[in-house]
Symmetry: C2
Subunit: 114 residues, 2 copies
């Protein structure tokens, strides 16, 4: 399922297009929630963990690392005691946050009980 290295016309429907991987990263519950939680500025690990109700530290850590690898957010550790680490969206991440926010809003507006 991974992508090729070259691809002239970007098409998420093409199996070998690199953008498939990006779609796979963003079209994910925890990624969508994490990016949304960073829309209003930098947040710490514990803050994100509290906001993304039900996420385990392992899964949150994995999610944030993948997003960082793809350039959607930055991770900044501060040399303090106790340690403080802040996550913040990059310009790329802020761009992705727009359609994801629309998706979250649509879901909240259209979900039915049960």
């Amino acid at each position: 399922m991974s992508s090729a290295d070259t691809c002239a016309t970007r098409d998420v429907y093409a199996a070998m297009c690199p953008c498939r991987d990006l779609l796979d990263l963003l079209a994910n519950k925890w990624s969508a929630l994490a990016i949304g939680a960073l829309e209003d500025g930098p947040r710490r690990f514990g803050q994100l963990r509290a906001r993304l109700e039900g996420v385990s530290p392992k899964v949150l850590s994995q999610t944030l690392r993948r997003l960082e690898e793809q350039g959607l957010l930055t991770r900044t550790p501060y040399p303090e005691v106790p340690p403080r680490v802040e996550y913040e969206l990059t310009d790329l991440g802020r761009g992705a946050a727009v359609p994801l926010a629309d998706l979250r809003l649509w879901v909240e507006a259209n979900a039915l009980p049960g």
Copy 2:
């Protein structure tokens, strides 16, 4: 990970909110692609399979059934030989298609090679 039955304020960040499940359904590569492939009208199973490059019949079938269960699309079999089955977005599905299309477009515009 499943949702509760009652929830006054819809919040995708709340673990027990039903909309979590809807987000989980839509925030998925194959769901996002399938819904997009139906934007321009009804399509047959084989057409969808061809468009969603790399999807196996099993996974496509599962994806479509989940979307049908949640009321995002309809499945219509025609009593012909050879059999023909058409999938079509519901009003709800057409609503969901909007933010998903934005997401796909953003991904295609912002994915980098390799």
